[in-house]
Symmetry: C2
Subunit: 347 residues, 2 copies
């Protein structure tokens, strides 16, 4: 049996036997190093020809995107970044300038979040390989897990989806963008090349917690003598696609969801590029938008959704039925059950 | 200009411009996350055909050695391990069993140090690539840096050197080991395949600190009003060779060293394998022995050297002259100046 026969998920399931059960299966690992702060760690490997190519990605963009992906995993846990390490595998023929431009891209992304590169390794390899590990910290009772979504929670997403996939398409087939304004074309391509980790959302989530939802939850827990350890916001990032994020949250929380097709925020520019049907597919399965998918009580979600960013929207609700149903309030499309099947598999 | 034109050191010097100056150049990065504990992070990448091959290394051994190398970097900083992450690049054709055996080897090494695998990534790659990041913690005032060796310090090493290089030679050319006993052959091969990170040394170093040296240093600092922040033990591990470690410590501390050739602990089995001259070369430049090279005051070094492990020895002294001189008290060999030139360069 070969790796390609069982795919990424099959392999991960086998390897998880070697890991402690309680720290597996989220955007990043949480290690309780002290009562005040947990250490949060995440790692990613990118390979030339698999995850990037000179055709669509400059070395600066490879640096930016790989860094942004890791910082996004920290954001998805509610964690502030402390630093990253970078391990590089390089063929001897790679121009030094290429490597410096890679680091320049990383540095540009990191600077926005006051995060240092704290160490690394370089070694010879037949293929350019970039392995980044990011670590951050979060208060134990403010950690955002995937498996704590509650029936009745609003499903809030922090921005547009489908933009990154559209940007990639414009890079591969520039001719399809002839009807787009320069501004729209640039917006979509930037979404692909320079995605923004949503660390800016964390202070707003803390406000929400400090406000009514936190108080209500604490009062409720206190009245029913429930230990006040459960954070009322669950979620993950949408790096592998919006559908993948919703399905994973639901599966791990033992709940289902109803998603309103017409509330999914699609970048306006997409209507000049593809059909509405295609745009929804890209939003659900395109991936790499690096927004956060958050489940939290309805009232604070509605009160603060506009603060979460351009395009932020409540797109549905967590349900007790285990299915994840994409429904159309206008009845133009039949209900559809979402699955991870079309998500990105790495082998 | 290509990566191969400037080599590993040249490339690292260019990339260090992107990193904060104060956290570069040790076995691992130290991040002051709290006044009580610093976070220590180190990362390594291993590539099939460059760092390991099926000819000399089983997948279990690749797993063990890559894990041991990272834990050794933590030991070299004085840090207790908290966990590791593993990023794997794999061709689809790799047998699943190979990957599981890799993890088994990691797990065997980690279990000895109660350290979990806390997360990872798997992705497609044309070449098997293993990238490990290890993190640990250490009290800020007990961190072992490379750049604090003091003139007059004893240079203590925690065990035999040259064994790993000899073991590699036995794996590549089994015929040269015909004169060895099974026990000696096994010892040398194990040294290569299953090196032991010297985390066991840390409690002994803490004893030394709690004892006379710590008190004397504190009294001295107190008398002369020197802030008591400097830890009286400096050092690093000998993963890139004993000579490399001594030279790096001296260069970073602005000191030199005199090393007694006949005090370098060579495994007795080597005398049945190669000339004394060759054995010293392997001890100095063979690499991958993963012992610690420690500089500390003479008196506690002499008092505790036997506790540091089999083969542990004081091999010389830190000097004010900047050269690192290998001398022979028996006058059989002329003095020789050690340099890193013959150390392992990865391109």
């Amino acid at each position: 049996m070969k790796v390609k026969d069982i795919g990424e998920q099959g392999l991960l399931e086998r390897l998880q036997r070697f890991c402690p059960a309680e720290i597996i299966g989220d955007d990043a690992a949480v290690i309780s190093s002290s009562p005040e702060q947990s250490l949060v760690v995440t790692t990613d490997m990118l390979v030339d020809g698999v995850h990037f190519s000179d055709a669509t990605t400059s070395p600066e963009d490879v640096g930016w995107r790989s860094t942004a992906a890791n910082l996004s995993d920290l954001a998805a846990m509610g964690a502030r970044p402390l630093g990253i390490t970078v391990a590089l595998g390089l063929p001897g023929e790679v121009p030094v300038e290429w490597v410096e431009r890679l680091y320049k891209g990383m540095d540009e992304c990191l600077k926005l979040h006051q995060t240092p590169i704290v160490g690394g390794d370089v070694c010879r390899s037949p293929v350019i390989t970039v392995s980044i590990t990011a670590f951050g910290e979060v208060e134990p009772n403010q950690t955002i897990y995937r498996n704590t979504a509650q029936v009745g929670d609003a499903i809030a997403i922090t921005g547009f989806h489908g933009a990154s996939r559209a940007g990639l398409e414009l890079l591969i087939h520039p001719e399809i963008g002839q009807n787009l304004s320069d501004r729209d074309r640039s917006f979509l391509i930037q979404a692909h090349q320079r995605p923004k980790p949503r660390l800016d959302v964390l202070p707003i989530l803390q406000e929400i917690l400090a406000g009514d939802v936190g108080k209500a939850k604490r009062a409720f827990n206190s009245e029913f003598r429930i230990p006040n350890s459960e954070f009322p916001i669950s979620g993950m990032d949408s790096s592998d696609g919006l559908a993948d994020a919703i399905v994973q949250i639901c599966q791990m929380s033992g709940v289902g969801a109803r998603i309103d097709r017409d509330r999914i925020p699609i970048p306006p520019a997409l209507s000049d590029l593809v059909t509405a049907e295609q745009a929804v597919e890209w939003a659900l399965y395109g991936g790499e938008d690096f927004e956060l998918v958050l489940c939290l009580p309805q009232q604070p979600a509605e009160a603060r959704i506009e603060h979460l960013g351009e395009g932020a929207a409540i797109i549905g609700e967590i349900t007790a039925e285990l299915e994840i149903i994409l429904c159309d309030r206008t009845n133009k499309n039949p209900d559809r059950i979402l699955s991870r099947d079309r998500g990105f598999q790495h082998f």
